[in-house]
């Protein structure tokens, strides 16, 4: 997991720790470098001082060739354990005395080198001139010091630096753990509130404001947004509830009305028929025409009521959704419409159709309305109806294409409204409810329906059914 995906708390701590860590490391590095450099210099200076003292003391030994005295003087170097070797050379460069006394001659340079002190490998070596006051040179003193003191000091300094680093980082950790809260707490509170809102859709919660800084402003803005959403949500819920209630009432009303209208209508139509049968011969032509109008009106009203009932039943008498093979549905439609198909000489073709999750009865009704319309609104030619399907990721789009009279674009919406007709009753029979029922069925399935057409060019009705909640079954 990259730093980008870490919680903000860890991110802040990481930033703080990294910053202080780098500072501490750089400081310690500077400290160690300083220690190392100064201690090397100090060691060099100490050795050169020691060299000068020993050289000054050993002048007489060299001048008067007293080896024992020279050895004794050199043996004083025991006090400085870092001196691992020393040698006294006479003015001809021959080794005169050495320290420690048992040091092999080979461990010392065969002849003295140039005066001065220098670091060689793991040692500090130096050559100091031996002369009495400012007089002629009597010889050379060689000193060799190991650098364990330097490394020891460096180790100590390193240990101190490590300790300082550890303590600093610990303090930095504790401080950052405390201080990061000032930034992360308001953000976390915001995030927590936002999460709660999106998970529970509870717009009544408010993020606590923990300061008047930018985060405080953000919190305020967020809370204001929440209250606005809460207000709107409440208004929306209210509206939905009202709509649902009125819709239900309307449906109930439509159902009850159409149902209850049947009875008196039946009475009107049966008594009108009775009137015609019993007293038809007693009436003149005008009276019989009136009766015919009354019967015709009653029959039309009967059909309207039936259609209205059918329309309201889409939602009140719906059956549960289950996988349906649309090929089978189309078969049923063909059977139901067999008379109309035969009479019109229509040809209903189809591609392989998928299965969908739907109310089978309503799906039959839907397709039957569309295929029926395609046959009904035919032009001069033989009706050709083609049913196809285009399965997609989220929805399956069905198409019913015909070669009928077509529809002008300005009517594309109107045709789906209940009891809206584009043609005179004499031209094409029907109450104008078919497409309204289609739309209601499609909407009950969570889909949509639309048309593409032009007058005289035939029409294609599309309806899309969602493939979600188990969706399309292959």
């Amino acid at each position: 997991m990259s730093l980008r995906d870490k919680p903000i708390r860890q991110k802040l701590m990481a930033i703080l720790l990294l910053t202080s860590g780098v500072v501490v490391v750089l400081t310690c590095a500077a400290f160690l470098t300083y220690e190392f450099v100064t201690f090397r210099q100090t060691t060099l200076k100490n050795l050169s001082t020691l060299g000068r003292i020993i050289a000054a003391n050993s002048t007489a030994s060299l001048a008067f060739q007293n080896e024992a005295d020279a050895r004794e003087i050199l043996s004083a170097l025991r006090a400085e354990p870092h001196i691992v070797a020393a040698g006294l050379y006479d003015k001809d460069g021959r080794l005169f005395a050495r320290y420690p006394a048992d040091l092999p001659v080979a461990a010392l340079p065969a002849a003295p080198d140039q005066d001065g002190y220098r670091f060689e490998h793991s040692h500090l070596v130096g050559y100091a001139p031996v002369a009495q006051a400012s007089n002629a040179r009597l010889g050379t003193l060689y000193l060799q010091s190991d650098l364990t003191a330097v490394y020891g000091t460096l180790r100590l300094a390193g240990a101190i630096a490590a300790l300082v680093m550890g303590v600093s980082l610990l303090v930095a950790y504790l401080l950052s753990a405390t201080l990061q809260g000032t930034i992360s707490r308001p953000i976390l509170a915001l995030a927590h509130t936002a999460k709660g809102v999106s998970e529970r859709h509870d717009y009544s919660v408010r993020a606590p404001k923990l300061g008047a800084d930018e985060l405080g402003l953000l919190t305020d803005a967020f809370n204001q947004m929440l209250s606005r959403i809460e207000d709107q949500d409440r208004a929306r819920l209210q509206l939905i509830t009202e709509l649902e209630r009125s819709n239900k009432e309307l449906e109930q009303f439509a159902y009850v009305a159409s149902h209850d209208l049947q009875e008196p209508l039946r009475m009107v139509s049966s008594y009108t028929e009775l009137l015609e049968r019993r007293y038809g011969d007693k009436l003149d032509d005008k009276g019989r025409t009136f009766i015919n109008f009354a019967v015709d009106g009653a029959v039309r009203m009967q059909r309207l009521i039936n259609d209205l009932l059918e329309f309201s039943r889409v939602s009140t008498r719906g059956k549960p959704m289950q996988p349906v093979d649309v090929n089978r549905v189309l078969g049923a439609v063909r059977a139901n419409l067999s008379v109309a198909i035969r009479e019109a000489g229509a040809l209903v073709t189809n591609e392989a159709l998928p299965s969908v999750v739907a109310d089978e009865t309503q799906l039959v009704q839907l397709l039957q309305n569309l295929v029926g319309n395609a046959i009904k609104f035919r032009g001069g030619e033989r009706p050709l109806v083609h049913v196809s399907a285009q399965p997609g990721a989220t929805e399956c789009v069905f198409a019913v294409r015909d070669n009928g009279i077509g529809i002008a674009p300005e009517y594309f919406e109107r045709i789906f409204v209940i009891f809206q007709r584009l043609h005179a009753r004499g031209e094409y029979p029907g109450t104008g409810i078919g497409l309204a029922v289609c739309r209601r069925i499609v909407e009950r399935h969570g889909g949509r329906i639309w048309v593409e057409s032009a007058p005289g060019q035939g029409s294609t009705f599309y309806f899309a059914l969602p493939t979600g909640n188990g969706g399309q079954v292959p």
Partner: protein
Amino acid sequence: MALLKTTLGIRACLLGAVVLLPWGPSLGAQAARTPEYQVKAVFLFNFAQFVDWPAGAFPDSTAPLIIGVLGDDPFGPYLDETVRGEMVRGRPLEIRRYQTIEDIKTCHILFVSPSEESRLEDILANLKHRAILTVGDGAGFAQRGGMIRFISERNKIRMRINVAAAEAVRLTISSKLLRAAEIVTPGKP
């Protein structure tokens, strides 16, 4: 830098002499071949560096430091070679040879030749109040009132110093020189 140059110059000048001076302990094989008086000549020269003379011993600050040899000179060319071109504390060195004690006018280091052994008491008595560092190699030289005696010991030259005699004429012998020598008190063997 000047010191270094001088030192190098001295080294170069002395090369002839020092190459022939392996009297040192680490070079025992060559030691036998090193003339004893060559070493003694160098020692005489070195005394100039480790002894302080009282004020008045020199007429001025650049006056030469005089090393005298009383009696027959046993050094041959060595003494002259040793001091040639050398300076000690800004003074040039000069070698003088005396036949009698009366010849000695200004002198700072006097080597009493073995040839003067018989007259030693007189010589030392004569020099008793003069700020002259007396050096000799005769037996009992230091006990008899001389200041420094050379002793040959297993191919090495050792010194025996009579500090009291030196102090009596206000000669200060460096403690470093005393370290390298044996100190004797007159009257004791």
